[in-house]
């Protein structure tokens, strides 16, 4: 570890995207203070511009040699760069949808965008975090911004309740995570991921050390499961999804999942990979429970945001199955699934937001009645999204499931695969409910889509990508595996 003791200014180049984004946040924050009402839109455009430039910077770092700086607490590798590009791209898309929502519901405030930028910064720190401390730091930046974002609709009781619930349960999760980290630190003597890895890989550990390591591991797994929303630590997910303003629900259900998976990879795969046998058993139980609960409970939902919350839980189950396998291609399958999930989820919430109007949230499944009549194009898009989430080919959701199942079966867990597909069929029922509403039922009221063209265009591209990537998934699969 040469870079531990000395500090070389040139090493900062690997953290350029984060540094730029932080500066941009400060600039946008200050500018927003002085912008008068007619120019408030400038905050939005500056936000998009900052995200774009940061994204380009992160993109340029793809393929750079791996570098660990800041005393071993910050890593730049392809996984970090690629994840950052996807996070920034996803956020940009989310912001296009968000603007329409905020304008419809008079929530258009500069703080919203600044909080989003801050949470993105937090996620970027998480993705590049290579010590327990950096990871925790990034996580907290992200979480605190999200709590505030939810509460931004403070006139709504539901939003305040959701924010509080998220805050309290999020704090518990952070506490559990910290507790686990302190045990790992206590026994291994280091916060750095690679030193923890060396320690855990040491074959001659005493049983006492092993015990504490295990204890810490369990807390870490619980903390991560909390953040991911895996059963039985999922109780916050449906309430927060339903209570938050839809644009916040969209954001927190998509991009932060990449960061959570990155944290999972850093801690459990890079750090405690030697203990895979211990945590994979925990993961298997969490994954199966998530798939089962997510698929079955969603059947009863009438609120589409709540239904998507349970659907997310079941997708998280599939993602966790990828980590059960303990092989690089399995982890790659999980990453592929996350990226696909984000593509689908962004589009699904995009459709919900698209139908939003002043005083109308479009968050009930029955609000979609007759959509195929008055907006056949977006009904078709929603059809694609729902079928893709259900895992029907040729849409990309199928290939994500295929990849995971192939890895799970190849690891010898045929029974797990069978359980997973049976629940996938059950979950198809509630996706079909949305299709039923759109296509098989007549509308009570005729409503036109009033969203601006840029949103309609981005949303169409987003949904069509679900089909296109589904027809040509090879590149994305290879990319996902190459990150490990």
């Amino acid at each position: 570890m040469n870079n531990m003791s000395t500090f070389d200014i040139s090493t900062l180049s690997v953290a350029v995207p984060e540094i730029f984004l932080l500066s941009a946040i400060v600039v946008v924050l200050l500018l927003d203070l002085f912008l008068t009402k007619p120019f408030k839109q400038a905050t939005y455009y500056l936000t998009q511009l900052s995200l774009l430039i940061t994204g380009v910077m992160a993109f340029n770092l793809i393929g750079e040699p791996e570098a660990i700086i800041f005393g071993g607490s910050f890593i730049l590798d392809d996984m970090a760069s690629v994840f950052k590009v996807f996070m920034l791209g996803g956020t940009m898309v989310a912001m296009v949808y968000t603007r329409h929502y905020l304008e419809q519901h008079s929530l258009f405030k500069g703080e919203y965008f600044i909080l989003v930028l801050l949470s993105v910064l937090g996620m970027m720190v998480m993705v590049s975090g290579y010590s327990l401390l950096t990871l925790y730091l990034g996580l907290e930046i992200l979480a605190l911004s999200l709590y505030t974002l939810i509460a931004i609709a403070r006139e709504r009781a539901g939003a305040v309740e959701a924010a509080l619930k998220y805050f309290v349960l999020g704090a518990i999760a952070s506490g559990l995570l910290l507790y686990g980290m302190s045990m790992i630190y206590g026994i291994s003597g280091s916060l750095n991921i690679n030193e923890i890895a060396n320690f855990a890989a040491n074959a001659s550990l005493a049983s006492r050390e092993m015990l504490i390591l295990n204890f810490g591991l369990v807390f870490l797994v619980i903390g991560i499961a909390f953040k991911l929303g895996a059963v039985p630590f999922h109780m916050w997910v449906p309430d927060v999804y339903q209570g938050s303003p839809t644009s916040v629900t969209m954001f927190l259900s998509t991009v932060p999942k990449i960061a959570a998976v990155a944290m999972l990879v850093r801690i459990l795969v890079d750090g405690l990979g030697a203990m895979h046998a211990y945590w994979s058993d925990l993961f298997m139980v969490l994954a199966i429970l998530s798939i089962a609960v997510g698929s079955v409970v969603a059947l009863m939902q009438t609120n589409i945001k709540r239904m998507l919350a349970y659907s997310t839980i079941s997708h998280i189950g599939f993602i966790m199955l990828g980590f059960v396998t303990g092989v690089i291609s399995g982890y790659g399958a999980a990453v592929f699934y996350v990226l696909v999930y984000i593509l689908m989820s962004l589009a699904a919430f995009g459709i919900i937001i698209l139908l939003n109007k002043k005083g109308f949230e479009a968050d009930l499944i029955s609000d979609y009645k007759g959509l195929s009549k008055h907006s056949p194009w977006f009904a078709l898009m929603m059809l694609i999204i729902m079928l893709s989430m259900a895992g029907v080919p040729p849409f990309v959701g199928f290939y994500a499931k295929l990849f995971i199942l192939q890895q799970v079966i190849s690891a010898g867990f045929v029974t797990i695969a069978v359980i997973a597909v049976v629940f996938a069929v059950i979950s198809a029922y509630y996706y079909l409910q949305v299709i039923k509403s759109m296509y098989f039922e007549e509308a009570d009221t005729k409503s036109e889509v009033t969203a601006p063209m840029d949103m309609q265009l981005v949303l169409s591209i987003n949904a069509v990508l679900i089909l296109v990537v589904g027809l040509f998934p090879d590149f994305w699969m290879k990319l996902s595996i190459s990150l490990f």
């Binding site: 192939q406 079966i409 597909v421 198809a428 039923k436 699969m477």
Partner: protein
Amino acid sequence: MENSLLSLLIWLPIIAGFFVILLGNERANTARWVSVAASILVFVMSLTLYTEFDSTTHLMQFEEKSSWISQFNIYYHLGVDGISMPLIILTTFSTILVIIAGWEVIQTRPAHYMAAFLMMEGLIIGVFSALDAILFYAFWEASLIPMLLIIGVWGGDNRVYASIKFFLYTFLGSVFMLVSLIYMYNKGGSFSILDMHNLSLTTTEQAWIFWAFFMAFAVKVPMFPVHTWLPDAHVQAPTGGSVILAAIMLKMGGYGFFRFSLPITPDASLEFSEVVIILSLIAIVYIGFVALVQRDMKKLIAYSSISHMGFVTLGVFALFLAYTPGSAEGALLGLEGAMIQMISHGFISAAMLLVVGVLYDRLHSREISTYGGVINSMPKFTGFAVLFAMANAGLPGTSGFVGEFMVILGAVQANIWYAVLAASTLIVGAAYTLWMVKRVFWGAITNPEVATLSDINTREFGILAVLAIAVIAMGVYPQPVIDVMHVSIEHLLNQALTSKL
């Protein structure tokens, strides 16, 4: 051109479907003409498959192969042999009929209706020509989507229930197939169906894979006891949807047994053949009696379909009992009979459903009791209806006879009692079909509305005439079809009889 013929057959209708959607419901007439032109073009192109077909080899023809998902060695691999080629032509043929049949009848969203059928045509041709398991699975599942919408959007009063039941039943059946396909990929390193034919599997593996396939294909055929979705789907679907469902989608199940079950799990197929035969016989006999008591004509045809498809599975699985070393004749008869039965059922069920459709369009009732004495007002139509009813009952000289007769001959070699039970359907089938004919067409007019019925118009006459020609031609001279499939079937028989252990 020749090398990409199958691709053209798959993608041309799908692209035409997109185009028709873009035309929109406002330009309904253009959409109709484009659809019918596309479907005729595809049919004519598919005839090239027949004329250029080399019936002296069991090898795949018109092959196309290019890498698709290299991560899993998945190829865009197409090809046909004597088993799949006739089914593809059946598909292109039926699609023209349903598009013309929906010409005036469908007034709500006509362009979307036509587009759904065009896209489904392409996807089903994909199912029959895919030689890569994942490509096959993708087409197999994707073909559910247009059918879901056809039933749900243009169906009857209870269409929502029927469409979702249809989707979930088939979806549940096929996910197990997916798991076993992945299992075989992990074992053999290839998703190619032809490689899977040669993959050696232990008895236990074969048993699991056999039942996984069985779930997928038995639901689709459908076999007793997983047949209950079909009467619902049939009754609720619009006429065109029922036609495609009965004429082609059910064949996907039968095709699955030919392409997957027999060659991939020959030993398990042998071991469990008696179970399948008994289920087939229950379908033939019991469901035949169920058909007898139906009051709804479409439901009657649905049950009659299940009963007739029982012959397909009987013919396929009787081969293990019919085969004696040195004499493959009985086994071959059964298998070829099953194939003929699939094609013939495609014609007859399509014709029967169109006949019901003609009546339904006029009086909006499928109840047998609504009618009576239709012959008085619709003599030309009754002529066709009686011909198709006779074919459905298996009258010699019609295509319905050939397949059933061959399967029964095969079954005689297997076990005389199987043959007796199967042959009893000739009586039951005649009973339910002719009794329906008697109540609907013969006798005096009881319902005054029936007296006002106008006879079929040129469009309807044309459709029924084409089907009548097909039914009689297949019945009188089925040899060309048998010639085409003979070598492939012989090869399949070999595969089925060669142990993998």
